[in-house]
Amino acid sequence: MPLNSKIPQGELSQKWTSYKSTCKLVNPANKRQLEVIVIGTGLAGASAAASLGEMGYKVKTFCFQDSPRRAHSIAAQGGINAAKNYQNDGDSTYRLFYDTVKGGDYRSREANVYRLAEVSANIIDQCVAQGVPFAREYGGLLSNRSFGGVQVQRTFYAAGQTGQQLLIGAYQALERQVALGNVTQYSRHEMLEVVIIDGKARGVIVRNLVTGELERHFGHAVLLCSGGYGNVFYLSTNAMGSNVTAAWKAHKSGAFFGNPCFTQIHPTCIPVSGDHQSKLTLMSESLRNDGRIWVPKKQGDTRKPNEIPVEERDYYLERRYPAFGNLVPRDVASRAAKERCDAGYGVGSSRQAVYLDFASAIERYGKIEAGKHGNHNPDAETVRQLGEEVVKEKYGNLFEMYEKITGEDPYKVPMRIYPAVHYTMGGLWVDYELMTTVPGLYALGEANFSDHGANRLGASALMQGLADGYFVIPYTLGNYLADDIRTKPIPTTHEAFEAAEKNVRNRIETMMNIKGSESVESFHKRLGKIMWDKCGMARNAKGLAEAIEEIKALRKEFWTNVRIPGEIKEYNPELDKAGRVADFLELGELMCKDALYRSESCGGHFREESQTEEGEALRKDDEFTLVAAWEYKGDSNFELHKENLTYEVMHLTQRSYK
């Protein structure tokens, strides 16, 4: 089957405008007859459900958490990008588009990224109208800051809690639609199967996680807004419940999976402290605005950081990348940290960490503040105090979080950080309309693959989730449903619902009946270790081939030896987790296969066999300027389809941040 990305004709800057002016519409009376299912209530899901509810569609939302407001978008810290050019520093739709395609190492689809940049400004307007309390300047206007991989200030933020504020905004819009009767909301429900009738997505099977009962729900269309799959690595910055299950079930029902190996390893996370570790905590990229990253110049230096004089420190990002310094993109910063630690320059007890130091910023801000108060010759203590106040205003909650976790005061000693799995650029393959290869089945936000190529820039995930939900799907869904207005709701007694439910029930019963001796958690940890060691920050053909075999063996062991306590028909978190880990055990294999196939390095995907003399990622544009979209053909059997990426506007070059 040839992949049709359905990119509209015409000039890049006119494609979305012309699409919007020519797509089919559904009249208000008909919208009331059309039912839409939304899986996941993060930024993409909540914004889509609220917008579609406002338009008059009958919407049902599902989330596994106890409330839509808990979705993991809430944890995003630093900010959201938008091409507003409020700072008059040369930003534009084109520049945001350019930075995003370049940041993604030329592996994203031009038309999608341009549209994203185009609607970014509307997102900020919409959020402010909803009451999102973005940071402001004294004049009452919105404030901006910088993020990695760009040279303008286009990031809007609400302290270190931007994701929370945006999600609460979308959640409130969603709850308003619930109150108006346009949306029905199901919390503590997990999607376990897509129902396909006559080749179209027509509903889902969900499990009520409180009672354990299976339920059938019909929809004229199904939207998957279920997030990313970073938890395949066990340790990641994702929430404990974040999972691939909804996307994976869709994949097994015919939706192709795009670039599954594209994983973002975030450079600034709190390092692992021991085997008990259950998750990793991010320290926002915004900290790199003011923090300087360094390691000692001497290998194995055991002195305390404050005892190491400046001339004996290696500010390796500033040294290697003078143009962008500490604000290089995430993939570059992560690899540089790994390189230093692997070479024996790491710090902390594990030697797997580097310093993120705010001393210079505190001093600089302190002097500015003292100057504002007319004190032009302040003593060191005054400077420190005033400087700390400024840093606290900007990043206070992050500093507190760091101190709670590590017991160290980052105002006094530099933070220790190390890269950790954070985001997955890969996801369900979608066309320009966000539709997967299954008609009527859509994927929005992190669940799809489309906008970030091989590396996502900071503050762009929030932008994409809300762009998809508020401004893209309201148009593209109508274009599909306009042909569906004569389709009456299909009763859930239909044989396709019967079969899908039976399938789900069998899988759950099989799993419960194994009654083995090893916990779900233990399998998840073992999978995570394979993935991190062999499909993590650096990958090679030998390791990936080994990983594929190891994962297959682990999966077999899971299905013969997992122990799940409790019953099916009750609140049973171990059973919920078992289903998710079972799916990760299948996805992990596909990720390794994809990483093995893509023998180039690009963005976050670093194949050791393909690097420049300086150790930078070396792309193979002739062979791999494409999306690898995998079709599920049965156990361990995936067929590769290619979508060639054509660049009409951008010129492919070796990325340089020097």
Binding site: A50, S51, E54, D66, S67, P68, R69, R70, H72, I74, A75, I124, D125, Q126, V128, A129, Q130, G131, P133, F134, R136, G139, G140, L141, L142, G163, Q164, Q165, Y171, Q172, A173, E175, R176, V178, A179, S187, A239, M240, S273, G274, Q277, S278, K279, T281, M401, K404, I405, G407, E408, Y470, F471, P474, S519, E521, R563, P565, E570, Y571, P573, E574
Partner: protein, 257 residues
């Protein structure tokens, strides 16, 4: 910082489901590292229980970085435990010493029925938001974000109120199980902003009415809600809501807070 390991006694609330009667059960955990989070200590206990062929303890948790609001343990008589401005997931074991006994209960409130063990149903909070905790601004209606300047201190105050994570600690800590801190934080967040001003009165009235319907108690200004709030939501929000509510009910304008 010196790290150490400890053995602990845990007395944990066990309850099969909403209908059944609960009870405390005592567990021993060994070799807990002072570097662990409180929930990681529970992970260790649960793995131990599964290995022994027993049922693990059900508890709510998700982001484990203090922002999603899902975790909800009542620890030694305090919502989210002893640390100031801290959720259960961010409480770390260096707080405890070898040999300590820790008592862990679910949030207790009529409006938050227990689902299992330490897990409670907080959908009442969603319904309070549905009653008016929003600004009616459909997608696509917005004017340019900088067209309405907002004084920085107002924006900061709105943000401080909007920092609420909806965990319900305020309700759990309150002897009356009142939801006033939660409700007033939302009302304040929205009515402090010019965008939220047009609906301020109806919002206050409808949200309070819904709170009463859900079976939350009345506020008697005790202040334990503020003391237990992991995000430092201030009691001033309650005062602001009271002014707003009285103004709305008795037809006075209510000030601009």
């Amino acid at each position: 910082m010196e790290h150490y390991s400890m053995n602990l006694t845990l007395k944990v609330w066990k309850q099969k489901n909403t209908q059944s009667k609960g009870h405390f059960e005592t567990f021993q955990v060994k070799n807990i590292s002072s570097e662990m989070s409180f929930l990681e200590m529970f992970d260790v206990l649960n793995e131990q229980l599964i290995a022994e062929g027993k049922e693990p303890i059900a508890f709510d948790h998700d982001c484990r970085e203090g922002i999603c609001g899902m975790c909800s343990m009542y620890i030694n008589g305090r919502a989210h435990g002893p640390w100031h401005h801290t959720t259960t997931c961010q409480l770390h074991m260096r707080e405890y010493k070898d040999g300590d006994t820790i008592v862990v209960e679910p949030w207790r409130a009529n409006a938050f029925p227990v689902i299992k063990d330490l897990v409670v149903d907080r959908q009442a909070f969603d319904r309070i938001i549905q009653a008016g905790g929003y600004i009616s601004a459909n997608t696509g209606n917005a004017v340019d974000a900088n067209s309405i300047p907002i004084e920085k201190h107002k924006a900061d105050e709105a943000f401080a109120a909007a920092a609420c994570i909806g965990c319900g600690a305020c309700v759990a800590a309150c002897p009356n199980a009142s939801a006033m801190l939660f409700l007033s934080a939302k009302a304040s967040h929205l009515s402090l902003l010019p965008q939220g001003d047009p609906e301020r009165k109806i919002r206050a009235v409808n949200m309070v009415e819904q709170m009463d319907k859900e079976g939350f108690g009345s506020c008697s200004n005790i202040g334990l809600c503020e003391a237990s709030c992991p995000k430092g939501i201030s009691l001033e929000n309650i005062a602001r809501l009271n002014r707003e509510y009285l103004g709305a009910v008795f037809g006075e304008g209510g000030d601009n807070a």
